[in-house]
């Protein structure tokens, strides 16, 4: 089980060494009520497998999609998620806060 951050980063290393494309997403800033603290990690591989979390499950799907782009391009990205508005399909945080997530490729 990968319950803790150190295990998540270990998994990222193991995945990369096994030849998989890997990205690490990190919560770098939060405003208002945010589900996961600054420093929380999500690791993603090029097939969309992921471990860890950057929110309570609200935006992980979007982060995974963006991470696959980052793995392809090699260029890091800064993502920002705010409160979900009335458009039900738009990803966002129901808790009302805003988070910024930095996504980088493990090269």
């Amino acid at each position: 089980m990968y319950a803790r951050d150190e295990d998540i980063l270990k998994a990222a290393e193991d995945w990369r060494k096994a030849g998989r494309g890997v990205a690490v997403a990190t919560v770098v800033e939060t405003w208002g009520s945010a589900p996961r603290p600054v420093g929380s990690n999500l690791v993603i591989d090029n097939d969309g497998n992921f471990l860890g979390s950057v929110s309570g499950g609200c935006v992980e799907g979007a982060v995974v999609t963006e991470a696959i782009d980052v793995i392809d391009s090699g260029k890091p990205k800064m993502l920002e998620f705010g409160v979900a508005d009335e458009a039900a399909w738009q990803v966002g945080l129901s808790c009302g806060g805003t988070i910024r997530v930095y996504v980088e490729k493990v090269s």
Binding site: E6, L9, K10, A12, E13, R16, K17, V24, T26, V28, E29, V38, G39, K75, P76, M78, Y102, E104, K105, V106, S107
Partner: protein, 232 residues
């Protein structure tokens, strides 16, 4: 992130060493700052403060916005004495995120009935302590009042540079302890590192109140710069 940086982070974390990753989020540049390099780093003041608070976060610098990922070992608490204070201290410390171990060779004290959820080792300190690999992210507390148990454990905690070392006992008891430790070859500097009387003076009377005062002193030592902590 380069794979070699990720590998180094994982190695340092596994070995319970401090490591900080500095990532420029504007241009993607990244560097690793290991414990021994902090003093020479351009961001040393910020890094030192963040390491002390174990807090990752964003900083504005002349070179752009940087994110500091701070990895510090999780703190541990090692106690000699499966006594009444320990029964209160262990759960309080666990709440604060400490990994708690109690060492007491007296099996009647170190029983599972008295400590249902705590790691208790019913062995003498010279047997129990070395395998624990206690380090500077460990707080050590001597609570038995028995020199045969507390003294060797205190010497071990001093040698391992625990960030907090405290010993229970009145000023008179502590004076006797100091005499014994000096006899055993410890320096004044070593002995000055032992907090005795233990805990912050909050007028604690009951074992749980004493546990609160000890935990407050440990927190002060963990979070506040040494000079400030001494002034408090």
């Amino acid at each position: 992130m380069q794979l070699d940086i990720l590998h180094a982070i994982n190695e340092d974390r596994a070995a319970r060493r401090v490591v900080v990753v500095v990532t420029n989020v504007d241009n993607g540049a990244q560097r690793l700052v290991r414990a021994g390099d902090i003093a020479n780093d351009p961001l040393r003041d910020t890094i030192e403060k963040r390491v002390r608070m174990a807090k990752s976060g964003m900083e504005e610098t002349a070179d752009g916005r940087v994110f500091l990922t701070v990895h510090v070992p999780s703190p541990r608490l090692v106690i000699t004495g499966a006594v009444h204070i320990s029964q209160a201290l262990a759960p309080i410390a666990a709440l604060l995120g400490y990994d708690v171990t109690i060492v007491d060779p007296r099996t009647a004290f170190a029983s599972i009935e008295r400590f249902p959820d705590v790691k208790v080792i019913a062995e003498w300190p010279d047997v129990a302590l070395p395998p624990l690999n206690i380090d500077r992210y460990t707080a050590f507390v001597a609570l038995t009042h028995d020199p045969k148990i507390d003294d060797p454990a205190l010497k071990h905690a001093l040698a391992r540079d625990c960030f907090y070392i405290g010993a229970l006992g009145s000023r008179k008891t502590h004076a006797k302890r100091v005499a014994r430790l000096k006899e055993a070859g410890l320096t004044d500097l070593d002995i000055a590192r032992i907090h005795a009387p233990i805990g912050i003076d909050i007028g604690a009377i009951s074992p749980p109140e004493i546990a609160v005062s000890i935990m407050a002193e440990i927190t002060l030592r963990l979070r506040v710069k040494q000079e400030k902590a001494e002034a408090a």
